[in-house]
Symmetry: C2
Subunit: 174 residues, 2 copies
Amino acid sequence: MPTHFKGDSGTKRALNAFINLSRASNSVQTRLSAGLDRHGITTSQLGILEALFHLGPMCQRALGDKLLRSGGNITMVIDNLEKHGLVERVRQKDDRRMIMIHLTPKGRKLISRVLPLHAKDVVKEMSRLTASEQEELRRLCRKLGRGGEVNLENEHGNSERKTKEKENDTSSTQ
Amino acid sequence: MPTHFKGDSGTKRALNAFINLSRASNSVQTRLSAGLDRHGITTSQLGILEALFHLGPMCQRALGDKLLRSGGNITMVIDNLEKHGLVERVRQKDDRRMIMIHLTPKGRKLISRVLPLHAKDVVKEMSRLTASEQEELRRLCRKLGRGGEVNLENEHGNSERKTKEKENDTSSTQ
DNA sequence: CATCAATCGTTTAACATCAAACTATCTATA
DNA sequence: TATAGATAGTTTGATGTTAAACGATTGATG
């Protein structure tokens, strides 16, 4: 009963690697979101606030692309942020399909206060690994990332430079 | 604008490790759940079906402990499994608070068919890493697992044996 | 100019998730 | 025995998530 799998060792290895990957991600995520609780925001909300803070006002479509979330999801999370007075929707005049999301002063204040604290929490969580272990973990995880190394999105049409793949922005979510 | 963080390199390293950990877990999870879609079940449902298949009938509390989910969540997922005729609730006679969850023949048939296919999918996903990379990933992820190595739950009171920590069961979820 | 296709955001339905309040049941103990 | 506390499961309310259908707006093309 406690064996649970009668496959070859290669299968066991893959299953174990996957299970521990999932558990680690979930564990860290859960502990970090407890930290965010103290500031009254969720992980999803942090993602949006951080993007707005670092990149400036964006339309919902762009936020969805950046955070890898569906349009409907972005609508919902922004609804909640708006209820709390942290962002506001501004309908574009030139293209009335588009709505730019702006941080309110309250939202800007909050995110600029929370971000360093959250980063500190992340550092604390990851400090269970040494520096080189963190780099190794990153390297291994990258190989498991988005299917087939797509990267077919130049964000805002800077198609003249075939630059450095972007790959990482050192944001504190996702 | 593209720098996004003006912290020391240790902070950057931790943030990058964390981001890539989350993304890897999410990516793999998303691709695997597309595979489960073909069998009409979700990841959560798979977790419960698999536990029942490997461990036999269990009460909801035990399932929640095993899968690290809240009681309310278990109730909901089992509701859906029951709707689909894959499990059934059996009220205990000796202790009427308790409800044992059983696989139906249909549920047993489904999970015994799906499990090997799902395992194969996991192997395929993880094959982006070599065998030793998988083992290294597992090792690193374990260090990030549940806070402080708690393990304060002997499941069903087998408190006489201080046995081998249990740690891993080679299941294909979680 | 009219229409059609693309794009943006919203809504809906289904599932997941948690915490907290609640019901039912059991156990210990006074 | 009666009552209080523990335990199992459900319900509720909030959030997040997707996919699909939908409405509004824009742009292109005949």
